[in-house]
Subunit: 411 residues, 2 copies
C-alpha cells in the first residue's frame, strides 16, 4: 500500500511538474482562418499596412474644411459649394478646396483637403449646388484617421494567444487567410486495472466499464490537446511498461489512470521511474479528491498517474493536465479565471492543510445563486455529472460555513 | 436616415425576439460518444441498470460480517477465518458466513454475506488461515452499494444539457456509445455594403475587407451553430431580398450585417418586412455599441440586421444571436454566467437608459484584477481583439467610478 507520508500541496506539486517539463519550441501547424478558432497562435503577426489605410467617415454627411464651419449656427449658417459625392468603395473623384463640401456616406473615403465630416442633420441643402451648415465642426470630427485602429508593423496577433472571434475578425480585416498555430498537444491515455473493460463492450459481474479514457479525452480536447487512446492494460508491470514507453515516444504527455487498487497504483509509479529520468516527482498530493495522484517527468515529458476513481481522475485532470497542455501550447500562465459568485447552502468541513474541490449545483436564489454541495464518493461519476461546478476549500481553511460567499468554477 | 425614436432596452428586445421565434422540436442528429462534447442532448437517457450493478469495495482489505467485529480493539482483536480472495473483475468464488473473512481489493465485488470491509491496516494476518481484526467495522463501511451512484431508470442525461467531460464519463459508465443530440443551428450570414469586399481578395483604396462574416461565423460555431456564408451582397434591394429569402429557406436563423451607411441599414429593414411575417420587431436598441440593430422574425425564423461596424456586430451577436442559438438547441435560459471580478481603473460615464458594453483589458493588480477600459470607435475591431472581456453599465446607471468593483464577462 502506498503511504502518503509526504503529501505535497497541489500548487507546489503543479509548479514542480511544470518546471521539470521541457517545453521545446511549439510545433507549428498552418490552418485556414476559419479553422483557427480556439487554436493558439504560434508566432507574432504584424500589420502589413495601417488600418484603416484610408481616412473614413463614421457618419452620413458632408466632407468639409472644418475651418469653413467655425462660428456656424442655425442663425448664421456657413454656406459651402457642393462639388460632388464620394462613391462607396472607391476614391473620391477629386479633393475639396476651402469653401467646398462633398456628400459622403458612413465608411466612405474622406476626400483630400477635407478634415471633418458634418452630419447630415446639421446641414440644409439650400439651392442647387449650395449647402448651409448649421453647426461648427472640429478638425477630425467624424473621421477615422489612417492607422487609427492599427499602425503599420504593429503586432495584430501576438504569439501564445488563444484565438477568439475577435482575433478572427482582426485577421480578416487584413485579408490574412492562413496562419501558424501551435500543433495540438498529443496526450496518450492508458487505462489500467484488471476489473476495467472497454466502455462499449460486453461486461460480466465484477467488471466496470472504462470511464476515464472517455471523460479525460473530452477534457483534453476542450483544452487544446489531441487525445490518443491506448486502451486498457492488464495489471502486469511488463505490459504497462511497454505500452507507456510506446505512448511516451508517440505523445507529448502520457496519462495513466491506475486501477483503483493499491497494487496497480504502485505499478504506475514503478513504471514512471523505469522509463525515463527523473521519473516520479510527486507521489501523493494533499487534495481531495485526488490524494494518490502521481506526477512524473520522463526525459522531459510529463507522465502522470491519475487515480482510477472517475471523479478524482477528472478533477485532477483539471488541476494538473489542463495547465500542462496550456504550457505546451505556449499559453501564458496566470490568466484570469471566470467564476460564478454564490452563497453556500450548508456547512462544509475540510481537513486543515488539504485543498478540497467540492462539486456543487447552482440553484437560483432570491438574491443570486446558491451553491448546493453534491456529496458522493469519488467513485461516483454522477456526483460530477450532476454538478454545475466546483468550489475550492483552500489548505489554510478548515471549512466554509453555510451562508458564506463562494466562487464556483463552472466545469 | 433611420430614426431611433423608439429605442427599446436590450433585455426587452431579446425577450420579444425569443418569444416570437417558433421553436419547433429540435432536429436530432446521432453522434458517437467521443464526438458528443459540446453538443446538446436531444432526449432524456435513462439508466438501463443500477450503477454500480454489484456492491464494490472502496478500499484494500477484508470482507467481513460487521457484527463479527463489534467490540474489536488492538487489545482484544476479533479472530476470523480467511476463506479466500475476491478476484478483480470477477465474482467472488463463494459467499462468507459468520466468523469468516475474504481478501478484497479496491473495486472488488463484495462477496455474498459480507456487509463491511475492514481496511488492511486494521488487520493482522496471524497464522495461516486466521486474521486478527483490531477495529470494529460498521455495516456498510467501505462498501458502495448497488445503485448508490444511479438507480435503474434514473435520468442519467436530461434533454437540453450541454455535454461536458463529466456527462461523457457518465454515459461511458453505461456503455452508451451513440446518442441523439440537437442538430447544429444553421445560421446564414449575409454581408452587405458596396464598400465591402471578400476578406482574402484584392482590394483597392476606399474598399474594406469583410470582417463580420468571419468573426460572426466563429461566434456561431462557439455557441453550437453552423455558419453558412452567403457572401457579400451589393446595395440593391432586389439582390438583398433574393439572397435573404434563399438563406431563410435554407437556414434556421439569418444574419445580415448591413453596410455601415444609413441607406443599406434601411434596406435591411425593408427586406425583413418583405420576406415574411411579422417582419421587423425592433429597429433600434438602447445599447452601445449596437443602437441600429434590427430584430425581425419572418414566418417563425429570426432574421437580424446587425450593424456593419465590426465591434457592434460582434457584441450584438453575443447579446442576441447566442441566446437565440441556445434556445433553438433546446438549452434552458437563465443559466449561470461566470465572470471575473475586477476593479475599474478609470471613471466610465454612460447615458441614463442606455446599456453600455465596454471592452476592458484585465491587468493583475496587488489585490486581484484591474479592469482597464479600451476606448475606441465601434469601427475598430482591434478595440475588441485587444480586450479580455466586456463590462456592462446597466440602463439605470449613469456610469461607474474608478475603484468600483465590476464583473468582467470574458469574450
Amino acid at each position: 500500500m502506498a503511504d502518503f507520508l509526504t503529501l505535497i500541496p497541489p500548487e507546489e506539486a503543479r509548479e514542480l511538474l511544470l518546471s521539470k517539463v521541457i517545453s521545446s519550441p511549439v510545433v507549428k501547424a498552418e490552418v485556414d482562418l476559419l479553422h483557427a478558432l480556439g487554436r493558439v497562435s504560434a508566432e507574432d503577426i504584424l500589420a502589413p499596412h495601417p488600418l484603416p489605410n484610408f481616412p473614413r467617415s463614421t457618419v452620413d454627411g458632408f466632407a468639409v474644411h472644418a475651418r469653413d464651419t467655425y462660428g456656424a449656427a442655425e442663425s448664421m449658417p456657413a454656406y459651402l459649394k457642393l462639388v460632388g459625392e464620394v462613391p462607396m468603395g472607391d476614391r473620391p473623384p477629386l479633393g475639396i478646396h476651402s469653401g467646398e463640401a462633398m456628400v459622403i456616406h458612413t465608411g466612405g473615403m474622406v476626400p483630400e483637403g477635407a478634415d471633418a465630416i458634418v452630419m447630415l442633420e446639421y446641414v440644409q441643402q439650400s439651392r442647387g449646388e449650395e449647402i448651409e451648415v448649421n453647426r461648427a465642426a472640429a478638425i477630425g470630427e467624424n473621421v477615422i484617421l489612417v492607422g487609427e485602429d492599427v499602425v503599420e508593423g504593429q503586432v495584430i496577433l501576438a504569439k501564445g494567444v488563444k484565438i477568439r472571434p475577435a482575433e478572427i475578425g482582426g485577421l480578416a480585416a487584413f485579408g490574412i487567410s492562413r496562419l501558424r498555430v501551435a500543433k495540438k498537444v498529443r496526450v496518450g491515455l492508458i487505462s489500467s486495472g484488471d476489473e476495467v473493460v472497454p466502455s462499449a463492450g460486453d461486461i460480466r459481474l465484477g467488471q466496470v466499464r472504462d470511464i476515464n479514457s472517455y471523460s479525460l479525452a473530452a477534457l483534453i480536447e476542450l483544452s487544446g490537446g489531441e487525445p490518443i487512446l491506448y486502451g486498457i492494460v492488464p495489471d502486469h508491470i511488463d505490459d504497462l511498461r511497454s505500452v507507456t514507453a510506446r505512448a511516451l515516444h508517440e505523445c507529448d504527455v502520457v496519462l495513466i489512470t491506475a486501477g483503483s487498487s493499491a497494487s496497480t497504483r504502485d505499478m504506475t509509479a514503478q513504471v514512471i521511474d523505469q522509463i525515463g529520468v527523473p521519473g516520479v516527482l510527486v507521489h501523493g498530493i494533499n487534495t481531495k479528491p485526488g490524494k494518490p495522484t502521481i506526477l512524473g517527468v520522463c526525459d522531459g515529458k510529463a507522465v502522470l498517474g491519475l487515480p482510477g476513481n472517475p471523479v478524482s481522475a477528472l478533477v485532477n485532470g483539471m488541476l494538473f493536465v489542463v495547465p500542462l497542455i496550456e504550457k505546451l501550447l505556449g499559453l501564458p500562465s496566470g490568466k484570469p479565471q471566470a467564476t460564478v459568485p454564490a452563497t453556500l447552502t450548508v456547512n462544509l468541513a475540510s481537513q486543515a492543510g488539504r485543498e478540497d474541490w467540492q462539486p456543487v449545483k447552482l440553484v437560483a436564489g432570491k438574491e443570486g445563486w446558491l451553491a448546493a454541495p453534491i456529496f458522493g464518493k469519488s467513485n461516483l461519476i454522477f456526483t460530477l455529472a450532476s454538478a454545475d461546478g466546483l468550489i475550492c476549500i483552500p489548505p489554510d481553511s478548515t471549512g466554509i460555513g453555510a451562508g458564506e460567499q463562494v466562487d464556483v468554477y463552472l466545469i
